[in-house]
Amino acid sequence: MGNTITEKILMAHAGLSEISAGQLINARVDIALGNDITAPIAIREFRAAGGQKVFDRDKVALVLDHFTPNKDISSAQQCKTVREFAAEHGITHFYEGGQVGVEHALLPEQGIVLPGDLVIGADSHTCTYGALGAFATGVGSTDLAAAMLTGELWFKVPSSIKFVVYGKMPKWVSGKDLILNIIGRIGVDGALYQAMEFTGETILNLPMADRLSMANMAIEAGAKNGIFAPDAITEEYVKPRARRPYKFYASDADAVYSQVIEIDAGKLEPQVAFPHLPSNVKGISQAGNVKIDQSLIGSCTNGRIEDLRIAAGILKNRKASSGVRLIVVPATPFIYRQALQEGLLEIFLNADAVISPPSCGACLGGHLGILAEGERSIATTNRNFVGRMGHPKSEVYLASPAVAAASAVLGRIASPEEL
């Protein structure tokens, strides 16, 4: 009986020659990630357990991206705790200030996470790195503390759902629309405790940026991880960035899946997730007349250069509708610079956009774009829970950068086709 790619990576990191779904294992961790919200608790736990040294200073990544640039005194204190810990332990991958980007955009971009890795992060969207063919999963702060101390962690081996995607994606349809559609079909707990493995002819041609957006939202279906078999597209992305060896794994032909779901991407239109669940998805043609107060283009889901190019293509020689605050957040300093050099920032400024520094700020209702009571935002982010972006009576609609840009121009949720 064969194994899935998820099982194979776990098996290799647990030093086992056999593995099956449901098994509890102890596995070696290649990268352990924390941020300014989750790392302080992990550091407290690490110290309380008498931790003197992290297991490997090259394998811990600490990224101060959530409430930064520090939004208030409490968040400044949290960052200080992490900064001091990073200095004390000589953490190689410590990012803040002008070097910081949104963690899940930053780590792949900098070649810190690689194919075949086992990555844990005290942040639920750690699953993003599955796009590279890594096993990557979100955990809590105590897990991070344990991994920083021992270099290992306990896992329950997940069963896998295989998604077979075929057909040519129509214009304006992206990886984001595909994953929103999938979450709409299976629900926010549709893949609970399971791996989501994305395969099929559409996936074979899917650019890395789209794969990252899709793996990013696996958690929104309750999944433990989302994963793509690495291929030539992966190699092209990873090769110039990697500074250590990496390994490609692939599922066996006779691997066992709990479910196989087929999707015809050729029939999709741009998708929008209505409040207050990422599964509350409608095609853009069914969206109706929803006026918006804000359009947020950014985040670990869609703040990459490819996303900004799409948004700029739509916003060129146009302006955000009066009454709409358009906020653009390049996800990393590297992306910010690329956008500058390509003239995209000029286009955004001309469109009356606010350009935010790389930060999680608005995405989690932290700062830099909070909604008031009754306000609505379209956003290229990944969550639209009650109160996610501000007041408990505000609303978030999730969509692609193309839809968010078109909506900013028209002042209501709209397809780029309408421009």
């Binding site: 509890l24 919200i37 989750t38 302080p40 608790i41 407290r44 736990e45 309380a48 357990a49 008498g50 959530h66 409430f67 939004k71 208030d72 409490s74 968040s75 949290q78 992060g121 005290a122 942040d123 639920s124 750690t126 979100g138 955990v139 809590g140 702060s141 105590t142 897990d143 503390a145 344990a146 101390l149 021992t150 306990w154 926010v188 707990d189 609970l192 405790y193 958690i219 309750g222 433990k224 669940l277 989690l364 209702g365 932290g366 969550r383 829970f385 009650v386 109160g387 996610r388 501000g390 408990p392």
Partner: protein, 161 residues
């Protein structure tokens, strides 16, 4: 372990933003977090509940973010344990890792009203409802997870090893 307490009911997919909104995550102080426990699901929750009470959720309790602030807020508020139809996986991990007892029962949430008093006997795997002869089974906890709770969480478990 035996827990007896009054039940506060919540629906399906109670997410971590409802348990502890991100706007309060600029601290990890349990007391400050507890003051906002469940705020976006029920703004008066902290005022109404008493120490020892039990949260009863539906499917996928604790979905969303990995924030351990969520089980911390619940534990520090005085809630003794959480029963739900199912838990989101990171919340499930976090609860065991930090020693917050949680139990899965598919039937309980639909069978009883808010305010009922229940007793959970985790050793026998049974929930009884006060003033009635109703009984419900809880899903068994894997031995490793039981050990985590018994040791007082993951870090104490590792220290013991």
């Amino acid at each position: 372990m035996i827990f007896t307490g009054k039940v506060w009911k919540f629906g399906d997919n109670i997410d971590t933003d409802a348990i502890i909104p991100a706007r309060y995550l600029n601290t990890s102080d349990p007391v400050q977090l507890a003051a906002h426990c469940m705020e976006d699901a029920d703004p008066d929750f902290v005022k109404k509940m008493k120490s020892g009470d039990i949260i009863l959720g539906g499917e996928n309790f604790g979905c969303g973010s990995s924030r351990e602030h969520a089980p911390i807020a619940i534990k520090a508020s005085g809630i003794s344990c959480v029963v739900a139809k199912s838990f989101a996986r990171i919340f499930y991990r976090n609860a065991f890792n930090m020693g917050l007892p949680i139990f899965e029962s598919k039937e309980l949430a639909d069978a009883i009203a808010e305010g009922k008093e229940i007793t959970i006997d985790s050793t026998r795997g049974i929930i009884t409802v006060e003033g009635s002869d109703q009984q419900f089974a809880i899903s068994p906890i894997p031995p490793f997870m039981e050990q985590l709770i018994a040791d007082g969480g993951l870090m104490k478990h590792i220290a013991k090893k």
